[in-house]
């Protein structure tokens, strides 16, 4: 609809209007505004008065950016290229954009309109028409503008030529302001898009295609708790929910079914009363044209509607026409988290307005081909959907609603003898009533749910990941992952490393709901003789306002996440068909190379969970555990051989020989005492060092000899256990250990860090742990993974490692005084920053998985953890 100048009735001034009696210009909140006027007509002043500086893109500004001279006309081509780029980016992002350039010629306006069209936003022209004299005087007064008066005359001629046809060019609205007085007096009022109902937060009951099935609709509404209002004839004319819920109809109320007028009467009543919203379906669209007397092919059930409406009074038909004609193609609801459109809507169209957006919302995207029944072949847009908003739609009858990438089609073919479905939002629960009978024979056979059930499940294409899911739009750019605790960004080279590891080595990504974050050590000890001790960890949490912590014995093994399914049905529903679980490493690789060993360990965990009664207690048929698999040598045999035992062997071979040589030299009366002493200390260091790795090495044959020490229950069906405190997690681990010898418990101690006596006792407890090479302990906020400190999410844990153990990290001789002095200078900031970022991503992937979000959404933060793990950071920390 174009509203040319003059036909717009002057409205009262909006809020903050500058002058009483001035015109109010309504401008779409997120569209394009093109200012049109000669040099000196006051465009920049106008823009500065009515819009924020960031909303205005000026040609002079762009000229300055590309040439350092705002008036360098030779730079105009580059300046406009830049201007178009900025406009393009802003409109793509849905931002109101005002173009401050003369724009007097159609050729300069056309590219701007094309950009707006590309992004499906509305364009407004504001023409500032001042007398030539005024413009000339203003330009003369400016020292930086030295072009002649003839330029203004030419611009004015150009402006005049195009003025009458601005609306034909594609501007949705044209405001012409004549003379400085009118320009000064106007106020601007931003207008929301019709589809923008973000302020409505529901809760909603979204109802699928009704197609004239009035009785089923009344039954469904009653089942949802609505109270139906009836007129004197007993006809339903409205309904409301005692708890204030709002019904949202996805369209196709009409055609095919037995009582189209009855459905319309009810829905129109609800919409008028504000207890329902309704978007149009393709059938309403066609009905409007038919009621207007346009030539339409009367098929697909339209004939029934027309016949039924003919029996109604003329006024009713008029109301129906007005209602259906006034429906808005789609709605954006609940702060942008919910979108309802008849045939669904791809993300770039959410909240946009254009012919093609409307067409998509009504008909979906068709490929132009038709199937064997002559029906259009539809493009499966939902498979590619990657948006954050939930999209609920109808249009294509399916036997069973299925979530695909956060979208759901709730047309379950009621009129074809299927069911009428409503989705309760935000609960995401379905409510359904059966069709009373088959009301209409479809062109393509419509299977009943029972018939469809044994057939092959729909192609799980949404299980295929897209490279954009993990690398972003541009692989050269860093990737930002939004989490409940703030965004986490991942550097581009690291995402490429993660892509390789994920592709070549990881288990099927459907198993990966979590990768464990790295853990920072406690701040470096104030005692110069050791690098780490408990005092600093307690002080850290005290300083962060976390008073109760738990100290957990650190098992020196290899990190292992175990996803244990109760049966193959659970694995098939939630993970990978034909399996029973997985055990993977911190980088997502299979923990065991031998699937037989993996199955054996999983079976024992499954039996333990069963015997402990956890399936019922946690109300789930699968459980993900995070823990440590022992011995270290089971996974790290290669590392121990190549890295540790080899160093021990070299030292044991070389040092005694050197000592022998030095003894002989000393026997000759030469002074080698210092070197001898050093060699002797090194020999002792090598022995102490070897004792450490031997401690974590024991023979394993298949599964025999393996121990699993879980310290967290990550998740079960529909929920993450990140909100539980550590005593709960420890308790579950202990119960598992009671039922399966494979599971090892973790010793722990709860400490109030404000109590000096408790802190001292914890220090003694730690010293006992680390004597003889024990790895040490981890200090965690008792409240669990979601614990918050003064600066937001608290560090999930700090490790405090034993001095003997650290020989295998810092070298056999690191306790030599000059050596440790240098080692104390270790910067922990990077490591603790990384630990916190990975922790946020870990919580996010668990939360997304719990919400049943699609694979790619869960994979994104998981992939982020892997990418962050490839960042260069001192591996000794």
């Amino acid at each position: 609809m174009t509203v040319p100048d003059g036909s717009t009735p002057a409205r009262g001034p909006g809020e903050g209007a500058p002058a009483a009696g001035g015109r109010v210009l309504t401008i779409p909140e997120s569209g394009l505004v093109v200012l049109v006027g000669v040099s000196g007509s006051g465009k920049s002043t106008f823009a500065a008065r009515h819009f924020r500086p960031t909303q205005v893109v000026g040609s002079d500004f762009c000229r300055g950016l590309v040439s350092d001279d705002e008036n360098d006309q030779s730079a105009s081509a580059d300046a406009f290229e830049l201007l178009h780029h900025i406009v393009d980016t802003r409109l793509r992002r849905g931002l109101l954009t005002v173009v401050d350039a003369t724009n007097v010629r159609q050729q300069t306006r056309a590219p701007l309109l094309r950009i707006a069209k590309r992004h499906d936003v509305l364009s407004t022209a504001v023409v500032l028409d001042v007398p030539e004299r005024v413009a000339r005087d203003r330009n003369r007064a400016r020292s930086d503008r030295d072009f002649g008066d003839h330029v203004i005359s030419r611009q004015r001629r150009d402006l005049r030529r195009g003025l009458g046809r601005l609306d034909k060019e594609g501007f949705r609205r044209v405001h012409v302001l004549r003379g400085p007085e009118e320009i000064d007096a106007v106020s601007v009022e931003l207008e929301k898009a019709w589809n923008d109902r973000r302020h409505l937060t529901g809760p909603f009951d979204i109802v699928g295609d009704v197609h004239g099935c009035r009785a089923e609709l009344e039954e469904l509404l009653a089942g949802l708790g609505y109270l139906v209002d009836r007129d004197a004839h007993g006809r339903a004319v409205g309904a409301r929910h005692p708890q204030g819920r709002t019904a949202v109809f996805v369209g196709d109320l009409v055609d095919r079914g037995p009582d189209t007028p009855g459905v319309l009467r009810l829905v129109m009543g609800m919409v008028a009363a504000g207890t329902a919203l309704c978007v149009p379906g393709n059938h309403e669209n066609k009905l409007v044209r038919a009621l207007r007397g346009r030539k339409v092919t009367v098929a697909h059930g339209l004939a029934e509607s027309l016949a039924q409406l003919d029996a109604e009074p003329e006024e009713f038909r008029a109301v129906v026409l007005e209602f259906c004609d006034g429906l808005v193609s789609h709605y954006v609801l609940d702060g942008g988290r919910l979108v309802v459109a008849h045939a669904g809507l791809k993300e770039e169209y959410h909240g946009r307005s254009s012919g093609r957006v409307r067409s998509f919302a009504l008909y979906g995207e068709t490929t132009g081909e038709t199937d064997e029944y002559g029906l259009p072949v539809r493009h499966p847009w939902a498979r590619d959907y990657r948006g954050a908003a939930t999209v609920v739609y109808g249009h294509v009858p399916t036997p069973e609603p299925e979530w695909v990438n956060n979208t759901i089609c709730i047309d379950t073919g009621c009129v074809f003898g299927g069911r009428l479905t409503a989705l309760r939002y935000p609960e995401r629960e379905l409510a359904q009533v059966k069709a009373h009978r088959v009301w209409y024979r479809p062109a393509r056979p419509f299977p009943s749910a029972a018939e469809a059930a044994p057939a092959a499940p729909p192609e799980r294409d949404s299980g295929v990941l897209d490279v954009r899911d993990v690398l972003g739009e541009d692989p050269e750019q860093d990737v930002r992952v939004e989490t409940a605790h703030g965004p986490v960004s991942v550097r581009a080279p690291n995402t490429l490393a993660a892509l390789e590891v994920m592709s070549r080595f990881a288990v099927d990504p459907r198993w990966l709901l979590y990768l464990p974050p790295t853990m920072a050590p406690a701040p470096t000890s104030a005692d110069p003789a050791v690098l780490e001790r408990p005092a600093e960890a307690f002080a850290h949490y005290l300083g962060d306002g976390v008073e109760r912590v738990i100290c957990q014995e650190k098992h020196m093994g290899s990190r292992a996440v175990a996803v244990v399914c109760r049966d193959t049905a659970a694995a098939e529903r939630r993970f990978v068909p034909g399996t029973l679980g997985t055990i993977h490493t911190r980088t997502g690789r299979p923990f065991f190379t031998d699937p037989v060993v993996e199955s054996a360990v999983l079976a024992e965990l499954r039996d333990g969970i069963e015997a402990a009664g956890l399936w019922t207690e946690l109300d789930t048929d699968w459980i993900a555990l995070d823990g440590e698999l022992l011995p270290w040598s089971a996974k790290a045999a290669g590392l121990i051989r190549e890295q540790y035992a080899a160093v021990g062997a070299a030292g044991r071979a070389a040092l005694p020989a050197v000592a022998g040589v030095l003894d002989a030299v000393a026997a000759r009366g030469l002074d080698v005492a210092e070197l001898s002493g050093k060699v002797a200390r090194r020999a002792a260091g090598i022995e102490a060092f070897s004792a450490v790795y031997r401690r974590y090495t024991w023979p394993v044959e298949g599964a025999a000899g393996l121990r699993y020490a879980p310290f967290a229950v990550l998740a079960g069906e529909g929920r993450s256990f990140a909100d539980r405190d550590h005593l709960w997690h420890m308790g579950i681990a202990e119960r598992l250990a009671d039922h399966t010898p494979r599971v090892l418990t973790t010793r722990y101690l709860v400490v109030d860090v404000t109590d000096p006596a408790a802190v001292d006792a914890a220090g003694a407890w730690w010293r006992e742990l680390v004597t003889g090479g024990g790895e040490g302990m981890v200090v965690k906020p008792l409240a669990g993974a979601l614990a918050r400190g003064r600066r937001g999410l608290a560090q999930p844990g700090l490790k405090v490692r034993g001095p003997e153990y650290l020989r295998i990290i810092y070298g056999p001789d690191y306790l030599e005084p000059d050596r440790i002095e240098r080692l104390r200078d270790r910067s922990l900031g990077r490591k603790s920053g990384l630990a916190l970022r990975e922790h946020k991503l870990g919580l996010e992937s668990l939360a997304r998985h719990a919400r049943g979000e699609p694979l790619w959404r869960v994979h994104q933060p998981v992939f982020g953890v892997l990418a962050l793990e490839s960042e260069p950071v001192d591996p000794r920390l």
């Binding site: 954009r468 290899s558 980088t587 290669g638 040589v661």
Partner: protein, 470 residues
Amino acid sequence: MLLTISTTHRPATDLGFLLHKHPDRVQAFPQSYGTAHVCYPEVGEERCTAALVLDVEPQALLRSRGAGRSPDFALAQYVNDRPYAASSLFAVALGDVFRSALKGKCAARPELAAAAIPLTLRLPAVACRGGPAEVRRMFEPLGWEVEATAVPLDPGLPGWGDSRYVDLTLSGEFRLADALSHLYVLLPVLDGAKHYWVSGAEVDKLLRAGEGWLAGHPERGVIARRYLARRQRLVRDAIERLAEVDDAATGGAPGSDADPVVEEPEDREGSASLAEQRAGAVLAVLRAEQARRVIDLGCGSGKLLARLLDEPRFERVTGVDVSAAAVEWARRRLRVDGMPPQRAERLGLFVGSALYRDRRFAGHDAAVLMEVVEHVDPSRLPALAAVVFGHAAPRTVVVTTPNVEYNIRYAGLAAGRLRHADHRFEWTRAEFAAWAGAVAERYGYQVRYLPVGDADPELGPPTQMGVFTR
């Protein structure tokens, strides 16, 4: 960290002149990574022994790598055998402390420096992955009598076997300069570890030191190749750090499995020309199918890309590899930076994964998966098929993969072993046909099979090829 040099030449004390180190003194020579000490445990007319003790400071080792370089952290840098074993680092110290002796210079005893004298060299811990046998292979051809015993890994870990260190004693009559130069060149060769602190220039220097005897050494090929391989491995990347996070050993492995350069399957297959035949066969198919826009998924170092670019009929040539290192290597091998614009315009090269749908894969009329599928875990193959056949969906897809039936023809391949350490499986012809047939049916392709390489009448060809068209 220890070398002793003994002689029974009379007077044995002349050893001090030859080494330019006085037998009655203990001398220290600062090195960038620690201190080298020279002293004499045994000094007599009959027999004289000099000792070189290298005291390595691990911290100094790190510092000597130079400030301002990108942070490259690996645990191996902090806990390693350098302070104890005789390795390339030891060779560097040897070259520094005994520089004149190595050159055969001796003003005091010039005739002695030129003469072969009875010598015994002992190194209690020589880093040598190949064990005593390899040490013998290196030193015996030069005329040394070799006594080499493997050092046990750890008496506290019974059953873990021997370590990669050898207790080595060499005896023979040599010019001292020659004896030292043998150690100087061969210690780094024996040491398989990564020499991230040895610059390329130093490598050249070491190679020059072998002039005179290296050319006649039966193992000269191995010696030269190890240096070259080492130079290629100066760069480590993020992938290895991830392996370390996972407790996997990376320290001494011969090239990470992410490295596309050192692990060419052809080496194991024993026929360098099979790769050529494979590329030729793929090219022939692409020509016959009249493909114009070709994407090589898993392009590796870009050998096929080069041949595609040589034929103008291929208007668009896209190379994709999941390894950023491989893509970088291909970029250098193809000399992308210096490529004429009309050739460069035809080429696209980027990091991508055949397991992640990618719109950059679209717009090609043929895709090549040459020796790729066998590197993918079987559980991920459906994702690969969905991405390549379902989403990119070019008119033609060419897949090559080893024919496992043929493996018994490879003499060097133990029964049941696969041709490449990273192969997740190798298919029989029937297994390949089963997979290919199912994929073709699901995604609407026809598939035909062609042999690559010299086919065995019973076992079939070494490489099997499936050509999918739709």
